[in-house]
């Protein structure tokens, strides 16, 4: 079984307890306007064009290796690039987001920092929404558990409760996004039903799972007074049942990647 991944990042200190390796899985059922990993929204491999790396002059590729620089300005055109086109681009301005990893290949990669995972560290699956590929992750997690590695997911929890139920025996730690709690706003901004989120988080809490809540404070989306009050009440409600609650500041780390997708 293979898993579609955009990046494996080692020495992560903010994605759960201890020192961790974070795996970014491709595919998300949300489309948050502030997403810092826009390359992980689509569940397909996507080509990109990073203008900052391109050595084209006046839109004409001076590498002589590709003839695309002047024409790559949309996702549709990027999609037409062949593997060879990408391979030939030695400045690495052209590339692909997403690579399928077989179980063993991924496990081998994740075990590279095994020695640093002691004292609570481990592997964090992030995304995108990592739980969407959960079935394919199970053999990977099994292998990691065999190596006594702690498993964490960063999830928005807007997935079917059957996946959450299934995940209970595999995931040691859940980092859960807390975005918009108002039913109408949630529907409007994220196009999802907040009830699903609530029932899933209760499922985790009732099963005594370790949970951290993270609230991205994004102006115009998640920073309204009413949302802040709702979040405060929500956090208070589960006080003692969750490990911590953190507010994340707005940033623009995803802008360059978003641009590169056309």
């Amino acid at each position: 079984m293979s898993v579609l991944i955009t990046n494996i990042q080692r020495f992560c200190l903010h994605d759960g307890p201890g020192i961790r390796t974070t795996v970014f899985l491709k595919g998300c059922n949300l489309n948050c306007p502030w997403c810092c990993n826009p390359e992980n929204i689509s569940s397909y491999i996507q080509n990109y064009y990073d203008k900052e790396k391109c050595i084209a002059e006046n839109g004409v590729c001076i590498c002589g290796e590709c003839s695309f620089a002047d024409r790559i300005n949309s996702a549709e055109k990027l999609a037409m690039l062949s593997e060879d086109d990408i391979k030939r681009c030695f400045p690495k301005a052209l590339g692909s987001y997403g690579k399928f990893y077989e179980t063993q290949e991924l496990v081998t990669e994740l075990l590279k920092d095994k020695d640093y995972f002691r004292n609570g560290g481990g592997v964090t699956f992030s995304g995108g929404e990592p739980l969407l590929q959960f079935d394919n992750l199970i053999p990977v997690i099994d292998e990691l558990h065999n190596n006594n590695i702690n498993i964490c997911v960063e999830t928005a929890l807007f997935v079917d409760d059957s996946i959450i139920k299934k995940s209970l025996e595999y995931i040691d730690y859940y980092i859960v996004d807390l975005k918009v709690l108002d039913r109408c706003e949630c529907k409007k901004i994220l196009d999802v039903d907040i009830d699903k989120y609530i029932s899933n988080i209760e499922l985790l809490i009732n099963n005594n799972k370790r949970i951290s809540l993270r609230h991205p404070v994004i102006s115009g989306y998640t920073d309204s007074d009413s949302n802040k009050i709702s979040i405060k009440e929500f956090v208070n409600k589960y006080k003692g049942r969750i490990i911590d609650y953190t507010e994340l500041d707005e940033h623009h780390l995803g802008d360059r990647k978003r641009k590169s997708l056309g």
Partner: protein, 667 residues
């Protein structure tokens, strides 16, 4: 004979100025002359008939003694007087201070069969008496009384109090500087002073707080004369305090005093004196925590030296087990057995990349295959390594009755350390250019032999021209994945094989004193030699700096540690192998406990040595543009720390670029 050695050996009447002025060379010729002339004018040379020890006596009589009545410890260094002596004065070492703390100076003289020892005794007695006389002649206060008290019995009995121990280190340390020994280490001060501290504390003679005050004063005194003491650059002083360490019984030595030294270095926040912490899987996590707190202030200390790896390798090299457990380092990172060694560990820098350029330039037809090509280089490297010995043997060491007196075998035999009187008489060399070599070899294998994209001769032709006519090729090479410093079995294997071939070339060669030649993957000259080197095949143009020690700007910390830990260091490859990287203050300040965990696991993983700069690119850039805003900003340079404002622009730029690269990968 090389020009440098020729000058050192033959023109000893005038070459005394070189060690005192070479720190100004980085600012260019005009500035060098401008800053050197006043030194020449004001320095009085003390030299007369007889031996070196006779000059020591003259010097002891001539130096001006200045009393500082605000200090409790005495220190005197008359920077305007020096001696001249035939040959090169040994340096870059640590005197065995334990001998004048746990015993006394006179017992060293009694033990010695060297006739010069009595002259050294006369010189030291003369200086000591003059100091006491001067202290008695100035207006009395509690500080003067403390200085007198701490100096009491210094020559004829063992130290009885902690402050006396510190005072003795200071006295003999000042003598070394006064007699133009450079880069003088301080040794395992927590270890050799521990008993005095514990007894003083038990007897109620001292408190933890009082001891901290003494150590702070000790550091401040040693930090004075910062410019005079600097060698190759301002800050390159080498007053390294070695802390902690494995005991032969497998336990780890650490004490309250270890923590006090770490805390004191943090409090004074000077580039020098600096700390090396001997680390081990056996050490307490708390000590690592304290070390991390000191790292956070960005002073570049401590450098970590991994006993779990180093001690077995020192024993494997042939150092006696009891000596290996006692190791300190030369001024930067080179393991050194104090009191038993001449070991001059920084005599020459070998450039791996230039050695490969020599190999490439000899090709006039395409090699048959990778194996033939690669093995051909390893054979040449072995030959190149075997030729190093003859350059090192050119150096003539100056007679050194003072250091001989502090060296066990010299005392026993009466043979001067300069003539091979000590137990260990090894020479050490440092190396640069390994990252360029390793990455270039990986790239050559891929594009010339595996993918056959380009011929070796074409590649070499473009490289020789610094890719002037083939920018495309340069970008291609630059964008190929870097292997050195990453979890890359091929890179680890290449580096291990290169080190093995190099070792083979020098292992059988003895220097003229019967010692071996050691080498390591760290060197001061990554910039100085790099800017004179040819382009490599992994994205470095000609005349650009080499990578610093074992570093990779595009690798996360764990990758770099894994890589360095996987290298098999050959028998002689022990002369310092330092991982070097940048950490942002935000990362370490916001994740202290995780950083401690990282250090702990990295020690278990098995790196050899590790040092880091804790500073952001934003700060460095601002400091370069607005030096007045950052008078106290300290950075780690090679094996020492320095004030950023004192660096020349090329060093500043290198640090800025490395900080920027680090922030792309490790944040």
């Amino acid at each position: 004979m090389g020009i440098k050695n020729n000058i050192k050996n033959k023109y000893w009447h005038i070459n005394w100025i070189i060690p005192l002025s070479s720190k100004y060379l980085v600012y260019g010729k005009r500035e060098y002359i401008k800053r050197t002339m006043p030194i020449i004018k004001k320095t009085k040379i003390i030299h007369g008939k007889g031996t070196v020890a006779d000059d020591y006596i003259r010097l002891a009589k001539a130096v001006d003694i200045i009393i500082n009545n605000k200090r409790n410890l005495f220190y005197n260094l008359d920077v305007n007087k020096t001696i001249i002596t035939k040959g090169v004065i040994i340096g870059n070492f640590t005197l065995d201070y334990s001998k004048i703390i746990q015993k006394d100076f006179y017992s060293l003289v009694e033990e010695s069969k060297d006739n010069e020892a009595f002259k050294i005794k006369e010189a030291i007695e003369c200086l000591y008496d003059r100091i006491i006389e001067k202290l008695n002649s100035v207006e009395n206060n509690s500080c003067i009384n403390n200085q007198l008290s701490n100096l009491q019995g210094m020559l004829n009995r063992k130290a009885e109090h902690f402050a006396e121990g510190l005072q003795r280190v200071l006295f003999f340390n000042s003598l070394l500087w006064q007699t133009r020994h450079r880069l003088n280490g301080l040794g395992r001060l927590d270890y050799i002073l521990n008993e005095l501290y514990v007894e003083d504390k038990k007897a109620g003679f001292i408190t933890r707080e009082k001891a901290l005050e003494f150590i702070i004063e000790f550091l401040m005194i040693l930090h004075d004369d910062y410019e005079y003491k600097s060698a190759a650059m301002l800050g390159d002083i080498g007053q390294i305090i070695v802390l902690g360490g494995l005991n032969p019984d497998g336990s780890y030595f650490e004490s309250e005093l270890t923590s006090l030294f770490i805390e004191a270095v943090k409090k004074v926040n000077f580039p020098d004196p600096k700390i090396l912490l001997r680390v081990s899987s056996k050490m307490s996590e708390n000590l690592l925590r304290e070390a991390t707190e000191t790292l956070k202030i960005g002073c570049g200390s401590p450098l970590f030296s991994n006993d779990d790896v180093i001690i077995p390798l020192l024993i494997n090299k042939g150092f006696d087990e009891e000596d290996a457990y006692e190791y300190v380092v030369s001024a930067c990172w080179e393991p050194f057995i104090c009191g038993k060694s001449l070991d001059q560990n920084n005599m020459f820098t070998f450039d791996f990349w230039s050695s490969f350029c020599e190999y490439m330039s000899a090709f006039d037809k395409e090699p048959d295959d990778w194996k033939t090509f690669y093995e051909g280089y390893l054979r040449l490297l072995e030959k190149q390594a075997s030729r190093i010995k003859s350059r090192l043997d050119d150096v003539i060491w100056a007679k050194d009755p003072l250091v001989s007196l502090f060296t066990e075998d010299c005392r026993k035999t009466g043979k001067d350390i300069s003539e091979g009187g000590s137990k260990y008489n090894n020479y050490g060399i440092t190396t640069v250019g390994m990252a360029s070599l390793c990455n270039s070899l990986v790239n050559i294998k891929k594009i010339v032999f595996d993918e056959k994209i380009i011929s070796l001769l074409e590649l070499e032709n473009d490289r020789k021209n610094n890719f002037k006519d083939n920018d495309k090729l340069f970008i291609k090479l630059k964008n190929m994945p870097k292997a050195f410093g990453h979890d890359d079995e091929e890179a680890v294997s290449i580096v291990t094989e290169i080190l093995k071939a190099f070792n083979k070339g020098i292992e059988s060669k003895k220097n003229r004193l019967g010692g071996d030649i050691k080498f390591g993957l760290s060197a001061p000259d990554y910039l100085k030699i790099g800017v004179k080197s040819e382009a490599d095949l992994c994205g470095r143009h000609s005349n650009e700096p080499y990578s610093t020690h074992i570093s990779a700007n595009d690798a996360v910390y764990t990758e770099l540690v894994n890589f360095a830990s996987d290298i098999s260091y050959p028998r002689n490859g022990i002369n310092g192998n330092v991982i070097d990287f940048f950490v942002t203050p935000d990362l370490i300040n916001n994740n202290s406990e995780k950083f401690v965990l990282f250090l702990k696991h990295a020690i278990n993983k098995g790196f050899y040595q590790m040092q880091m700069n804790v500073v952001s690119s934003k700060t460095l850039i601002d400091a370069k543009n607005n030096p007045d805003k950052y008078p106290g900003l300290i950075v780690r340079v090679w094996g020492f720390s320095a004030y950023f404002n004192d660096l020349s622009d090329d060093y500043k730029n290198l640090l800025i670029n490395r900080a920027i690269e680090n922030e792309r990968v490790n944040n």
